[in-house]
Symmetry: C2
Subunit: 646 residues, 2 copies
């Protein structure tokens, strides 16, 4: 196993990309201040979150009951993590002071022995009594991630110390040794967080605890079967009574799990930790298992928009090739988790198939999760919506027809925010000899390489244009290192030039390796083929038989009612005709539309009866598609990704 | 309003139809004895029903708790009703002695004041405290229906008296007068039962009580909002917390309800009672409202198989033109209710559009609900099933991939049985001047008409053949009366001959009226066009755009995996080619198959990736379709009604 690639510090990356900057600026200027108000219950019209209030009660600063979900603390954690990423890139005294005040409350809510969780502290329910549903370890995990991020961003270690103390306590509580608690998280998350804590502190206990949690998972007899909630059918969440152990990936000993099962977020968080452990322990077998799981997801259980979770009930994977477009869950958080897992697998294997999926997830579902105003969010991301049906057929009661301000379970908005704030971690990876360019975002990045510092300046308008220009600045003359640029698998044709001349290069696992002596002001130009293309689905997916969609680079396109009228299911596109580019600078803040020819049913003469022998009449029409990530920014309406093919 | 048509007594009808007799014989010889064992908990491997045991406890013959659902008594009632229908046609001492023993228990379980319900009697929960969910009035309704049927079948009045005493008591309890309970049933059923009780006893109180229940429904403020279960969110059925008042048709004053909403079974039971009351009170406005509701169902919310209920959650109607084929509920009981409602509307209006739907419901979904062995049942009747998906995607967790022996909520099996046992009520109607032939079942029927007795002998092999021969026997020479024969709307071409000669007739609202002087041995021959046809769906139903199905007479056909392999969604049939008849005497006890030409995707070269640009390869193929009502009698496999059209 090669030494894994690393992230460079976020402060070394400055994203100035035209497309992404609007989202990233929204995080800094709109989302994070707005979320601070939300977790403080200062937003009129939004459901109360009780997040900060719970901490104040746990600190003894207020009287009251715990309110919100058992995992309500994680909203504060995810907000803190996103703030950390944001201020690491660009200091912001106001956000930092908000964060410090939240951290003071967190520290104040910690028990003497290190335990920290407002729900269990305030209610007095016995600790670790309901690992299946109680989310204590999940919550701890998000807190640890936030603490690590805040330490990296600011150098301040108060929060980190709080979480180390909690982790030290957990290390004493859990383990396979006699007398310890043999449990593990109902919702994986702490496993990957403990690896982060180990990496920043060097304390191996944290790695060992993560390893224990992962490796003991699913050992027979399953730990959860002896918890009160399962034994006595005494659930916090009533639907859990219907869930089998595969719901949280404890149905089989971990080493035997080779298909992605159960709750999608839980699954990809767990697999991310497995990838971390495979790398830390140089465990080839575990890595192969991670690859098998990743292959199962991306070759059999993933939507073209990079989302996962084919069913709402259980928010879960179902079976191979089962990808319904309108009843699916496709949670924004699951897409975040898939990007996390894929990025880890890339950093270990340097295989571009993983970063292709990172890009697919981020350019489609992640951004579809957030409105262009930065204040409205989707949890659920179907590929086909008919509002009248979604609002009246309870099979789709999880589907919202417009983005919501904030939800009772507010996992997705802060998860989207922290991912946007740390997009640099996905865009670049480094090792001592070079820089890997994974995403084509305009901006600059610096890296400290073995031979000296290097700075890259990317200029791109991707995926509207396939031209990626990379300006090189070196610390010394004649500095040797590698620039490895992802060659997306969709782009069969491409050219690479250095200083205007085609050069020799190695193409390996989807990366173009330019290993050479670099000098200041060298310029690399990569031209990818991002022309519009019709894409079809493997016909084992029954929902998409006879259908086609439009893509440009990683962007999946969709039809919206605003552009194409109602009854999008009656559209048949003519894939023998070219897809025409139509740039519309006024639409949605600037949008490259796709125009296609086809036919659509002429409504009006279909009559009142439901069933008859006559065939419908079709008429010629031109259809306009927009990137899926921008849908639903013009009010409620039909939307369709997979169109019938003429 | 014309005087409504009547049913003739079931003892006057003898069904000898080749197709239906196997089901009817199953009821007499298999289902009713089997269900007796089931309600007595004498069937190994079946879930316990506790039905009879609950009555024994309520009688004081056993000690114990009530077990089963709150409406568990109705299984006994529906069984008794079906037994009544069966023994009315063909005496059966054994079944009658079983029934008498059950009736003794029912009488023994009745309280001094007339109240009768094992759940409330055994638990001691306060009577009428939870009309929203408690099913007391619903249960009373099924008991009344059974008592009326048993009295008609045997002339014994013990059970009838028990139920009259209960109805007398309810008449004192409920009503709009001050001091009475202003409630009405959460689940309509007692309303139509009380009309039956009125018709058999002539006691107008029962009609008045029914009228009160129907007319007070939905009056503001809604009665249910003040019940403990709603006010304090203290539900028997946890999902009820999510249900709005439209779930049980109490969202609007009854007179304002013109679209079919909510739980499908509740809806059509209610509408059946509304039709009864429209007729009894000669209320043209109420009748027009019934017609509007019926039109809304059959023109916008009904599956081609005559089933209703587009969503599983709430087992309910959703919105116009929303007819998903794989996630629907389409409960067998709802089809029974639709046939009941439609038959009532026909008897009032003499309009064949209603009996067309009766036929559509009975020939497709009703029979699909029961296996050819008579011992296995479907509650849920989708039009498309892929077993691997239905078993692994919890969106379809209500869908069974094989028929079940008996369910926890055993409403459908006895409902199917009682409908089969009383099929004669649907097949014929009479008034004093004539006989209406609604269904084309071989057999004989007798009627006492104004001018004397008449007997008809039908010979048919419908819908395999379109020839219906009707032999006439008259009591006197030159007896004038009308034979009105339904002309199904699908059959545009037809001929009618009397004694071999084409004759004059009136065609009115889908019925061929033959009003003439009849003599013994006259013979009518009706030739309908039952040739196979391709049928399409109104394109406002997005699920069926570009699709086609095959019908023959009322039969809807489907493809099964057993005949056509997997991946039925990849079939495209060529509707320009003729549909070939293939009679197969060995298949499923004799089956007229339909053979169609088309193409299907050639699987094997589709590759491992999920998304790519290449189009799938199709190959020519011949497909074999069987009647939908016979599906799933050869083990688990894919099934598809709506096929893509080439």
């Amino acid at each position: 196993m090669d030494k894994k690639l690393e992230n460079t510090a976020l402060k070394n990356i400055n994203i100035e990309d035209g497309f992404w900057k609007r989202y990233i600026d929204l995080v800094d200027h709109v989302i994070l201040p707005f979320q601070w108000d939300l977790i403080n219950d200062n937003v009129e019209g939004a459901e109360k979150s009780y997040c900060i209030r719970n901490f104040r009660i746990a600190c003894g600063l207020e009287e009251g009951k715990h309110q919100g979900m058992v995992f309500q603390d994680t909203d504060v954690a995810k907000w803190l993590e996103a703030v950390s990423f944001s201020i690491e890139k660009k200091p912001n005294a106001k956000l930092e002071s908000f964060a410090d005040s939240a951290i003071d409350l967190i520290a104040g809510a910690q028990c003497e022995d290190g335990y920290l969780n407002t729900y269990y502290t305030i209610t007095g329910n016995p600790r670790w009594s309901n690992l299946f549903e109680g989310h204590e370890l999940y919550t701890a995990g998000h807190m640890i991630e936030a603490a690590v991020a805040y330490y990296k961003a600011t150098g301040k270690d108060k929060f980190l110390k709080v979480m180390c103390k909690f982790a030290d306590y957990m290390y004493e509580v859990f383990g396979s040794e006699e007398g310890r608690n043999h449990g593990y998280p109902g919702h994986p998350e702490v496993e990957l967080a403990l690896v982060k804590l180990y990496r920043v502190t060097g304390n191996e206990k944290y790695l060992q605890l993560s390893n224990y949690f992962v490796r003991s998972r699913g050992a027979e007899p399953c730990y959860f079967l002896n918890e009160d909630c399962v034994k006595n059918q005494n659930y916090i969440f009533s639907e859990f009574k219907d869930f089998k152990l595969d719901y949280n990936q404890s149905h089989l000993p971990i080493a035997e799990q080779i298909t992605a099962e159960g709750h999608a977020v839980r699954a990809v968080y767990l697999y991310s930790a497995m990838a971390d452990l495979a790398s830390e322990y140089q465990d080839e077998k575990l890595l192969a298992q991670c690859e098998a799981l990743w292959d199962n997801i991306t070759k059999k259980r993933m939507y073209i928009t990079g989302s996962i979770g084919s069913a709402s009930y259980g928010e879960r994977f179902t079976t191979d090739y089962d990808l319904p477009n309108d009843t699916n869950y496709s949670e924004s958080c699951a897409t975040v988790g898939l990007a996390m897992f894929s990025n880890r697998m890339f950093q270990i294997t340097r295989d571009g198939k993983y970063t292709d999926v990172v890009e697919q997830a981020l350019y489609n579902t992640l951004l579809a999760g957030i409105a262009l105003d930065g204040k409205h969010f989707f949890y659920v991301n179907p590929l086909e919506v008919v509002p009248e049906v979604a609002e009246n057929n309870p099979t789709m009661r999880h589907v919202m027809t417009t983005r919501q301000l904030w939800f009772g379970v507010a996992c997705c908005p802060p998860n989207i925010a922290r991912t946007l704030a740390s997009i640099g971690d996905y865009a670049f990876s480094i090792d001592k000899n070079g820089i890997f360019i994974n995403l084509f975002l305009s901006g600059t990045m610096n890296a400290e390489l073995a031979g000296g510092k290097a700075e890259l300046e990317l200029k791109a308008n991707y995926p509207e244009s396939g031209r990626i220009s990379i300006g090189v600045k070196t610390q010394h003359q004649n500095q040797e290192f590698t620039i490895a640029i992802r060659k997306p698998s969709y782009s069969n044709e491409f050219t690479v030039k250095v200083n205007g001349r085609e050069i020799e290069f190695e193409l390996k696992k989807g990366y173009i390796y330019l290993t050479r002596i670099w000098n200041d002001h060298d310029e690399v130009i990569l031209d990818l083929d991002v022309s519009f293309r019709f894409v079809r689905c493997n016909p084992r997916v029954r929902e998409n038989i006879g259908k086609v969609t439009i893509m440009r680079g990683p962007w999946v396109y969709c039809l919206e009612e605003a552009d194409n009228g109602k009854y999008l299911s009656s559209v048949k596109v003519d894939s023998s005709k070219p897809i025409i580019e139509k740039a519309d600078s006024k639409l949605l803040g600037g949008c490259l539309c796709a125009e296609v020819e086809g036919v659509k049913i002429r409504y009006g003469s279909e009559g009142d009866e439901l069933y008859y022998t006559k065939a419908p009449e079709y008429e010629n029409a031109t259809f306009k598609a927009i990137p899926y990530c921008m849908w639903n920014n013009r009010g409620k309406g039909e939307m369709l990704v997979w169109m019938n093919e003429k």
